[in-house]
Amino acid sequence: MSASTLREVEPNVWELPKAGRMRVPGRIYASRDLVDALDEKVREQLGNVAALPGIVGCAWAMPDAHWGYGFPIGGVAAFDPEEGGIVSAGGVGFDISCGVRTYTTGLTQGALRDRLETLADDLYRTVPAGVGSEGALHLSIEELDDVLRGGARWAVERGYGDPEELARVEERGAAAGADPHKVSRRAKERQVRQVGTLGSGNHYLELQAVDRILDAAAARAFQIVEGEILATIHCGSRGLGHQIGTDYMQLLGKSAPAHHIELADRELACAPIRSPEGQDYLGAMRAAVNCALANRQVICHLVRQVFSRHAPEARLRLLYDVSHNTCKEETHTVGTRPRRLFVHRKGATRAFGPGHPDLPPEYTAVGQPVLIGGTMGTSSFVLVGTKESEARAFSSSCHGAGRRMSRTQARKQWHGTSLIRELGERGIVIRAHSASGAAEEAPGSYKDVEEVAKVAEDVGLSKRVARLRPIACVKG
């Protein structure tokens, strides 16, 4: 997309003026280079989102945005039920509540050096990942319903983790309003053996070294120290979430005409929040959020077990768990009035600023940790929510680097085995379940995460706290 076709209303803030059926303008937070790299489709998709009933503020694109289904990835849009606002299955996506969870370990890279390969090997063996993988837990459909209601709390009650951790998971470990009865049997059948599995594609488990502290006060609150090793996982709601996405994309697409909603694109599939279909989707979507939270909680238990075998002196403390494909009901100030809004973040992270009542007490003074995943060969970042972010995009920020090259192109350019060797020579231990899958995830096929994080800070979406460097990565 050529930046010259947009209006730069402030540095790094580009406006797509209201036109046609748009109810609000579109806004893209990006540098000129990032805008130029955007697919033209993002403009069309933002325009379509801006035309949906009950939208409040703007249709936003975060700095890592790219072309998605219905909504762009890196898209944020909020809807007011009082004004006929909608909830959209396309606005959440297939991998509901896909997210990132990071632990501090209390270990330094130096202390771990001789054990790094062994640790990576054991993580690779212990955490089920890749196509067709099964978890150690085989649940009945009834037990799965408990997972869908209880989220990470369910997992902690079963002994997977410490109850103290739950305060540092969004929604304190369990989304309220989850309704397993609104989840199809097929969706549940897909999940009964998948709780505690990582998945494939861009999902990973990574050990990272804190490379540089960029905000000392927030780093202190987050208990991050330069040179320390962190353990991060990126995964979602697995087969259950994918099936709910598929089911409701179909259902909400079909019911739209009855609600007099004209969809410019089938994948905007949505229903009024105050309609039976809208409520059904919210119940199912929240069940998938809980599934993802439980999944990450169980995986982290496995990670802890691996550490206890090879580095028993490690103390894994949960830094935070963020979800980046969600629709959440939140209070935001619009003008001077607080309103209850349904905020869709598709490939975007919630980023509450300091003082927000939903933050755990230890983070209230600084704000919510925002975890930005890079690639297996480039940095990741810990950022923190800011006060300004509320006005910028209802407290939202970016979620990763964002792809710049298709998977097919990446496969032509890189070879899995040699890529893994090259990363090894740079001191990054890679364990991958698929060589070609690894090639598709080559660091060069993503945008520059440094620039994405910098723009997020420059426009006030969130502030950089620490830069992390990968030292070992298990790819699904």
């Binding site: 990835i73 067709g132 994948e267």
Partner: protein
């Protein structure tokens, strides 16, 4: 079986060709499952699953068909290597599809996978007839 992948942002497009819509659907399914087992010839015909779905037109029927395959393979832990599709027109905007999918339990050692498909989408969705026969395609979220 004639099929290929095409480029799309963060995901992958699947495209099948054939003399009939059925063959093109089989090709699209083969393109989809070559993400799960790169060389479909490595997938043995040990198990078969029958599936049915419906749709108002061929494009929607294709999405329903591919999504049914994704969820079946996930539930039964199967890699599919071969497909037989029959499409019947029951009435105006009422198409029915019945298919057999042949395969075996997914084996990570023999079936070199690329990536796990999450769902078939309406993006770049097309079922069309041209001088070279039928084409059936859409983007798959991975």
């Amino acid at each position: 079986m004639r099929f290929e992948h095409f480029e799309h942002g963060a995901d992958v497009g699947v495209r099948g060709f054939g003399a009939t819509p059925e063959e093109a659907f089989e090709g699209a399914a083969s393109a989809l499952f070559s993400l799960v087992a790169e060389d479909l010839a490595t997938v043995r015909d040990e198990s078969s699953e029958m599936l049915t779905c419906s749709g108002p037109d061929l494009p929607e029927l294709l999405v329903a068909f591919l999504n049914e395959l994704i969820s079946l393979s996930d539930v039964r832990r199967l890699a599919f290597g071969r497909f037989e599709v029959a499409i019947e027109r029951r009435g105006e905007r009422d198409l029915r599809l019945a298919a057999w999918a042949f395969g075996e339990r997914y084996d990570p050692l023999r079936h070199s996978s690329r990536v796990e498909p999450k769902g078939a989408t309406f993006t770049a969705l097309k079922v069309s007839h041209g001088p070279d026969g039928w084409l059936a395609q859409c983007v798959v979220d991975v």
